[in-house]
């Protein structure tokens, strides 16, 4: 299973390295959203600074929707999905591979956004242990839920509009918890943030578990 995951993740990331869709389109899009928030909220640093954790994670969610769509768009073209099914890779392995590839790309988006909020919003990145400690489980949870809900929308004509409707309500608790954890880290009171990091880890475990259990059901069809 882990070998299969590794193969699928390697394939997706190799494709990303060669096409640079994530780096060339999703990352600039995320930075653009940060700039737009700046316009919307007035470049009054007080508001932006107070809202930084929330804006950061909302932007990550938008980028995640795009990333998940991209991850499955490459599968639905030219019968790649059939090839994947015929390749005798295990379904949980495919799920973990997809999740890993999405997570790696999300980390790249988050690093770019982190630099963005420091420069544009004047955020002070104190308490980086908590920042990393909450961002990693949050990313794992977003990628796992994204990869499970992504496969549900695969091949449908309305997938671009359906995926956000299915995925964003599910990711709302991640936004809530990750924002609270980042607030605690930026306020310099990391003790308040660790329980939220724990909740993020729990979410990630639940969705990795659900994905491993349910992915095969959706993959075996049509």
């Amino acid at each position: 299973m882990l070998r299969d995951a590794w193969l699928v993740a390697g394939k997706d990331l190799r494709m990303e390295v060669r096409t640079r869709v994530g780096l060339g389109q999703v990352v600039p899009f995320a930075v653009l959203v940060l700039v737009l928030f700046g316009f919307a909220l007035d470049p009054d640093r007080g508001i932006l600074e107070a809202a930084t954790p929330g804006l950061f994670w909302v932007t990550v969610l938008f980028a995640a929707v795009l990333g998940v769509q991209r991850a499955y768009a490459v599968e639905s073209a030219e019968g790649v999905r059939d090839a994947l099914r015929l390749s005798s890779l295990s379904a949980p392995g495919v799920f973990l591979g997809k999740t890993l590839a999405i997570a790696v790309q999300l980390v790249a988006v988050e690093v770019a956004l982190g630099v963005g909020v420091v420069i544009l919003y004047g955020a002070d990145p104190g308490g980086w242990v908590l920042l990393v400690g909450s961002a990693l489980p949050a990313t794992a949870g977003i990628a796992a839920a994204g990869s499970l809900y992504g496969v549900l929308a695969v091949g449908l004509r309305v997938r671009e509009t359906l995926l956000p409707l299915l995925l964003l309500p599910v990711l709302a608790p991640v936004l809530l918890a990750a924002t609270r954890a980042f607030e605690a880290a930026l306020d310099g009171s990391p003790a308040d943030g660790w329980p939220w990091a724990g909740l993020l880890a729990l979410f990630a475990v639940v969705y990795v578990g659900c994905g491993i259990g349910l992915y095969g059901t959706v993959l075996e069809e049509s």
Binding site: L166, L176, T217
Partner: protein, 262 residues
């Protein structure tokens, strides 16, 4: 919890036999007629009990009457969602059309009752708390439940092929309950850290007395009968829609065959 479930379980197999061979296009049967008559007769009684017979509440005044709609509708909504959740698990296990239709019927009716819950709750909140919306865990998770049910139905509507539709909606239906639990817990935790729930003392405050309690229980019971009645009809509509789909498919196949041989 499983009333709707079990009752439908006992009688549903009669649907195929009843509606298909005779070409009979109605979704009613003696049982649904009885259920329908019960609902139709009880609703005036519910109106009379909640508006005339019961006194206004000491704390909330006349607005308490809204709760005779609100509390039963939230009960019916949550029961319907639980039926969807259980049906999704059963579908993944049995892979039968029957569980697929039970789950989707319950989800559709559940979303109507969830909307009713939200609207009646917001009107009540506007009167009692002075604000239509509060980031209260119950309120927020009911809104998310509504959004998840809308997503479930959008996914079903978007899947043209029946097997894909059943599979995908069973996965979404199974995740309904864990998602709602996570939302509810996280919002509760978030609110408890930021402010205490003083606003919500009002609805814990009032005592439920004889007739008011009876009205509540009676309205909830009528709501459950309504749910079962609607589910029977929705199930049968879904079953007939599947038959139409099959017939159209076989007609299309026959037409292509005829084209090829002519």
């Amino acid at each position: 919890m499983s009333i709707g479930n079990e009752q439908t379980a006992g009688t549903a197999p009669t649907v195929p036999g009843q509606s298909a061979p005779t070409g009979h296009r109605s979704t009613s049967s003696p049982l649904t007629r009885v259920l329908g008559i019960i609902v139709v007769l009880c609703i005036p009684l519910v109106v009379w009990l909640s508006f005339v017979a019961t006194p206004p509440d000491r704390v909330q005044g006349e607005s308490v009457r809204l709760l005779y709609v609100h509390v039963p509708s939230v009960t019916v909504a949550y029961v319907a969602c639980f039926v969807t959740f259980v049906s999704s698990i059963m579908w993944l296990w049995k892979r039968s059309e029957w569980w697929d239709l039970v789950g989707s019927s319950a989800a559709e009716i559940g979303s109507v009752f969830t909307a009713l819950t939200l609207v009646s709750g917001m009107i009540w909140g506007q009167i009692t708390w002075g604000t239509a919306w509060e980031w209260d865990p119950r309120l927020t998770s009911t809104l998310f439940l509504f959004l998840l049910l809308v997503g479930y139905q959008a996914l079903r509507a978007a899947s043209p092929d029946r097997s894909a539709r059943s599979r995908r909606s069973a996965v979404v239906g199974l995740l309904l309950v864990p998602n709602i639990i996570i939302v509810n817990r996280s919002v509760e935790w978030w609110r408890s850290l930021h402010q205490d729930a003083t606003l919500f003392r009002t609805d814990l405050d009032f005592r439920i007395e004889g007739l008011m309690l009876f009205t509540w229980m009676f309205t909830t019971a009528v709501g459950m009968v309504l749910l079962v009645w609607l589910m029977f009809h929705r199930f049968r509509v879904g079953w007939l829609a599947n038959r139409v789909e099959e017939q159209q498919l076989s007609e299309a196949v026959a037409a292509r065959r005829a084209e090829a041989t002519s």
